[in-house]
Symmetry: C2
Subunit: 349 residues, 2 copies
């Protein structure tokens, strides 16, 4: 995987030989973005399981659980992490009567399947969301919900990419996204690579450009979506949603159904990760605040469903109120019964 | 003056021997903040005038105008700059029949008067605003409207200081204020020097803390206030005002009457300075975005009067709609007729 902490100045790739390396990459945000975290978690578990030397079933199960625990303790907010771990656990459960070598094979296959599905899901999301973007639109995005945040293509940026590839003349305002600058470092880098017109701004400029009617749509990704549509995403997303509402700019979330946590009714239940103060006091190693300053550093916030014009998924675009449509699509998706085209429209309720 | 671009890691003082040094300090933001810009402009003009070697009146006037032009071309938004230049020009006008040496003396006296008045005005503003801050309040501020932005004491921070000195138990959330990080570098430094409890946050976190009911009041400074109360201040202030309105947090502006531009009816007429892209792409010399990225960098935005609960001035606190009270105070202040205590209350309309 590419080390996202080194972008955009260096393109350094990390090759992990064991699951601890993968866990560390997630924790230190060398890999980040909800879908990419999910895929990395699955790959890390498959790698860890493959490396277990014991052929004794009990010992294998014991070590497998240790691996899952290590991976699950990396970051608390992105639900895709736990979703991927559960898929791997389910594979183990299904195959537990087989020999250890067969179980390992099944786990590796599942991790590859998760990665392939992610790519397909992102492309579908892009297609579904692109209908919302009109020729000439200025689209604001916050953080990085691009190819780097997924296997490829991305979530919010999948929508931008699809609209651009359809020949629409679009321009993207990119929030730099403090503290870790995923917008300045990653989204700008991705868009420039594809020659999609863009302008980088500091986070506190988004409201100004909205008030000047320079922004037509907002599209962001998500780290966890509650059953009612409340959306946890990178810190600052909530503020963008309030500014969008004030200025009558439609605010969209693009996320795979795997980002929806049907176990929680609303955003109040979402745990917000507090990260190290150094992320605020230092930028790329340079100290920008006085020694010993007190800092708060919540990594996410929750955008209430009422501020969201639509949630773009691989099954279609859900509209407020979201509970029913998300539930229907989520259950269908989880039961793997339905991938037909008929649900890929606009769904209300 | 202290070089504000080097804070908080270094306390370096600049001593200017000529007006070009002062103009450069304003332009490069070594000195910044509307009141401090005004005082520096006056001092720069006095210094420049003092250095004119010719005793010929016409030659002196010619060079004086060159000095004023150089100072006035440094920054376009802060009205205090033009207000101070006008005061100096008026002194010249009043004394134009005297010898050059007497004119020089009058200009130096006026610059010193402007500096002394600024200090007094800031203290009055602090006293007037402190009544708004309750024991236990969490106050958010954006940018630096502290002692560094004025001769001493500050504008928004004058209110915080006065409340703290009255023994109120307060805590300040400090927006770091991208791109130039005046909050992280200057406001944090000032508050820590005075042991006023504070927490530094990235700009995009303010909305999160408001939504969690962690912020009770917002107090910011101003660079130019239109006759109707529309307020130009550091980029991001408008966003804070929208978030405050959404979360029912009172939003106050603290500014001397010299910051009010009675020549413009509304904020639509305020020129917004666009600064260099490097302020966004580089932080303390470190590059944070891809080479060649396109950037926007408006230095200010305009907060509409309707988002402002009160404008704290040296004469009292004006309430929405502001036009009448600001006009009354402004005219009284400009005619130097009234400094009585009776106007230092809360004035509506």
């Amino acid at each position: 995987m590419i080390d996202q902490t080194r972008l955009p100045l260096e393109e350094v790739f990390i090759e992990c030989g064991d699951y601890l390396c993968v866990a560390d990459a997630i924790k230190t945000m060398k890999v980040r973005g909800a879908p990419a975290i999910g895929v990395s978690a699955a790959m890390g578990i498959a790698l860890g399981a493959k490396n277990i030397s014991s052929t004794d079933k009990m010992e294998f199960l014991n070590q497998f659980n240790q691996i899952c625990d290590a991976i699950s303790s990396t970051r608390p907010t992105a639900v895709n992490l736990f979703w991927a771990i559960n898929r791997m656990k389910n594979i183990l459960e299904k195959n537990k009567d087989l020999d250890v070598s067969f179980i390992k094979e099944a786990l590796v296959d599942e991790a590859i399947l998760i990665a392939n599905e992610d790519e397909e899901v992102c492309r579908k999301m892009g297609e579904n969301g692109a209908v919302l973007i009109e020729d000439g639109d200025n689209v604001l995005t916050h953080c990085n919900a691009g190819a780097l945040a997924a296997v490829s293509y991305g979530t919010a940026l999948a929508v931008v990419r699809a609209a651009f590839n359809q020949g629409k003349n679009i321009h993207v305002y990119v929030d730099e996204t403090r503290p870790l600058l995923q917008g300045a470092r990653l989204t700008a880098w991705e868009l420039m690579k594809e020659n999609i017109p863009m302008t980088l701004i500091a986070d506190n400029m988004a409201g100004y450009f909205m008030s000047k009617n320079k922004i037509d749509k907002v599209v962001v990704g998500a780290d966890r979506i509650a059953a009612n549509g409340d959306t946890a995403n990178k810190i600052g997303t909530y503020s963008v949603s309030v500014l969008a509402k004030e200025n009558n700019v439609p605010f969209y979330v693009a996320a795979p159904l795997s980002t929806i946590d049907f176990n929680i009714k609303s955003g109040d239940e979402i745990i917000i990760e507090e990260r190290a103060p150094e992320e605020v006091t230092h930028i790329q190693g340079k100290q920008i605040a006085p020694d010993g300053v007190k800092v708060a550093n919540p990594a996410f916030d929750v955008t209430p469903a009422k501020n969201i014009a639509g949630i773009i998924t691989e099954k279609g675009i859900a509209k407020f109120p979201f509970t029913e449509s998300l539930k229907t699509w989520g259950h269908k998706s989880q039961s793997h019964k339905d991938t037909s085209e008929e649900t890929c429209g606009l769904m209300n309720g």
